[in-house]
Symmetry: C7
Subunit: 105 residues, 7 copies
Amino acid sequence: MSSIAAKSVKSIVPLFDRVLIQRIKANQKTSSGIFLPEKSMEKLSEGTVIAVGQGAINKDGKLVVPGVKSGDRVVLPQYGGNNIKIGDDEYTLFRDHELMAIINE
Amino acid sequence: MSSIAAKSVKSIVPLFDRVLIQRIKANQKTSSGIFLPEKSMEKLSEGTVIAVGQGAINKDGKLVVPGVKSGDRVVLPQYGGNNIKIGDDEYTLFRDHELMAIINE
Amino acid sequence: MSSIAAKSVKSIVPLFDRVLIQRIKANQKTSSGIFLPEKSMEKLSEGTVIAVGQGAINKDGKLVVPGVKSGDRVVLPQYGGNNIKIGDDEYTLFRDHELMAIINE
Amino acid sequence: MSSIAAKSVKSIVPLFDRVLIQRIKANQKTSSGIFLPEKSMEKLSEGTVIAVGQGAINKDGKLVVPGVKSGDRVVLPQYGGNNIKIGDDEYTLFRDHELMAIINE
Amino acid sequence: MSSIAAKSVKSIVPLFDRVLIQRIKANQKTSSGIFLPEKSMEKLSEGTVIAVGQGAINKDGKLVVPGVKSGDRVVLPQYGGNNIKIGDDEYTLFRDHELMAIINE
Amino acid sequence: MSSIAAKSVKSIVPLFDRVLIQRIKANQKTSSGIFLPEKSMEKLSEGTVIAVGQGAINKDGKLVVPGVKSGDRVVLPQYGGNNIKIGDDEYTLFRDHELMAIINE
Amino acid sequence: MSSIAAKSVKSIVPLFDRVLIQRIKANQKTSSGIFLPEKSMEKLSEGTVIAVGQGAINKDGKLVVPGVKSGDRVVLPQYGGNNIKIGDDEYTLFRDHELMAIINE
């Protein structure tokens, strides 16, 4: 996990087609209120888009703009992404094309 | 298997050339009514298209739209795809080009 | 081997540059009438084209139409292809470019 | 080795940029007439072009026609190619770009 | 680690899409003033851009200029880059597309 | 080593971007006249261009003509190339882009 | 190490995007005059450009000219390049894009 000594995540501007995501954590409690131990908590594959790069130049010099925008809820792939830590918070930088779907709720 | 805390699968909008599929389960009973144990049930390679992405920008900046539409019955490859769980239901996100054929019945 | 619960193979429409093939089985009997055990029967690399996809968009957005048509007899590669079962019959989905040659007889 | 139940090799029409080749066998006898055992016969890397495909569509939709024609004597690579058997005769299907040189004699 | 017998880092002009970076070292002291042993110091994934190449010619002959400029603070990938030593100082040459994000603080 | 039953190397016409090379053998004798055993003779990476193909069609349908011509002395890579034998003489077929440099002496 | 029986390095004309480099050797003596044994001498990653190829045709038929010229001092990658020996001198042929930076001193 790479640490970044930035004061706030707002100062992070992803480059090219990268997207900064904060994973959504599964409920620490079952519906009947029992606290789940960290290990058993199912790893949710969802996250919120924090910031989006300007897009990458494709092989023909055309700018391909990312398909998501800040605030979108997205389905994440099981693998991939670069984790970074800003203070106590963890974020992940994905390439735009790694993101699976948008959750419109 | 990734879990998604969405209320309904209708809120899932696949990105790029991805297609959201629900696998069709083989008949739990033989034609003469005997219940098949889960293990012996042949894994059907069929599924129904639930939702389709807008398509991916190809190398030359052209949008290539997926070849299937919501409601199509499709032949699935034996491998590949990202499985996601919404409540108790399982779905799979495939890339458009991984799908094999449409079943027109 | 993937099973498809379709009523007839006619309902299978291959996607993109895929071609649906039925392999031609070697003669079960030698010319002098002796039945060959399944194992010794040489695996023929021939098949008949059942159905053909519309073609795939190449990297420059151009549609490349398959080089074979329904009813053609073709030479198959030794490996590759996705086998599917419809009822008791076995078929194989190849990519157009995997097919080796047409047999004009 | 794949067998093809075709009556004659003339009915084989290679697809795309494939070329049908019959390997030239080294002399079974030394110049002084002694029969060489099969094993010691050097594997000649020469062959005769039997039939040529129409060519393959390149990335930009342009048809690239093979650089050899039926009857040419060619230098073959040491590896590669798909061997097929028609009756007792063996042939090999190469991709056009695998062929090394033409022998103008 | 490659050594360069240059008098100053200012004389280093990266080629193509390469970017010369100096990593930012984590605080040697905790906020309460205790000196951290080298080993325990978390490896920061941040750096400052020292110099930037003119950009690389892409597949279509177009010059793609790097997305960062001298003085930018950037988030670095965990792996990659070529380390070079100029006197006692260590620098790293990354490809432009390896850089993750800019820190605007 | 592949053998070619051609009468003369002059009949070999390389295909596409291939170049037919004869390696130059290191001096069998030291300057003071002592015969070097075959094993100790340093493998020279030089050769003479015997024949050149017409060039290869690149991905955009453009013919890229080789950068060398018959009679050129060239620096060869340590690996690669297809060795062929014509009578007692050995030659090597390289791809044009494998050749390192021309020796203008 | 490949040997080239050329009289002078001036006769070597690199092909395509290759660049002929002579590595700069680290000082055999410490600043206080003590001779360093060969093994302990740090391998400098610097070199001088001796000769430059005309450039390579990229995938779209455009000539991409190397970014360095004869006499430039350059930062070399730790790996890669083809070493050649001309008389007692050693040189290395790199591809233009392998070179890291120019040292303007």
